[in-house]
Symmetry: C2
Subunit: 168 residues, 2 copies
């Protein structure tokens, strides 16, 4: 049955949640079958793969194909909790807070990658810039919108000077 109305929970019944649960909407199929060799960021990957959206969500892909890029939110499902709140990230020899890094080892291990869309066939999104392990569970797909998501100027804190040094 088509759900045609978008409904809200009555504000009076709002309670701050102790736990928030999601159901995966698909799977990222990646040529990386093990952690070794996975690019540390999507921007440093030319690898192709595809996102299988489960058939029950296929209608939600309508008109995504007109966009060149998507934001994929997914679960780092191999991360064991709890994680350290400070540790040495890949690009530094000094400890940083987990929220000042892009490490997968996060209190809520949600990954964010921007993939280029090659094409979409039924429930399959063929993408480029894969930086995740095969069979990663997908939580959400959003269109990448330059006017919203690209900033002209921003400071990158401790990463300044470290990105190119380690990745080129």
């Amino acid at each position: 049955m088509e759900i045609s109305k978008r409904k809200l929970i009555d504000g009076k019944n709002r309670r701050f949640p102790k736990k928030i649960c999601f159901t995966p909407i698909g799977i990222i199929h990646s040529p990386f079958k093990e952690l070794k060799g996975i690019p540390i960021q999507f921007k440093m990957s030319n690898t192709e793969g595809f996102i299988e959206i489960f058939p029950e969500y296929e209608r939600g892909l309508y008109e995504l194909g007109g966009f060149s890029h998507l934001i994929c939110l997914y679960s780092f499902d191999l991360v064991k909790l709890p994680v350290p709140l400070q540790s040495k990230p890949f690009l530094s020899n000094e400890k940083k807070g987990v929220f000042a890094t892009r490490t997968p080892f996060r209190p809520n291990p949600i990954g964010l990658s921007i993939f280029a869309i090659n094409n979409i066939e039924l429930n399959t999104i063929n993408v480029k810039n894969i930086d995740v392990i095969d069979r990663t569970p997908v939580l959400d797909i959003k269109p990448y919108v330059h006017d919203f998501d690209s900033l002209d100027e921003s400071n990158v804190g401790w990463l300044k000077g470290n990105i190119r040094r380690k990745c080129s």
Copy 2:
């Protein structure tokens, strides 16, 4: 106790999850107490507010203050599931697939906003560009990294020509 090792689940024990649950790490405090009047996108908001990170995660903020912007992932906790897979978004009079829009009414209602960081005091991140309702549960904070997150060129599909028309 400090958890010093980052641990992985053994690949052999990996099972595709039916449900993935997270624990909020904080709360967005916003001057918007009701849905009416909330800017539809962070880029269209100059409103200030603050993110309260729960004290047990405060150490994870170390060195975030050097960045000018953060990516905040949060829960649209007022959205009632299930949602329609296609509907007319704010910026169009024609139906679009949910994954081709930025609507909060998503199968997994996870929100993504990029906030400018004003300053950080203990477990409080003072931010700008607030586009969410007060007391929104925070799932993750990541530093915005221009080299990763800004794309020089991207196509915005059905949104082309609609963003400025409706929002300026």
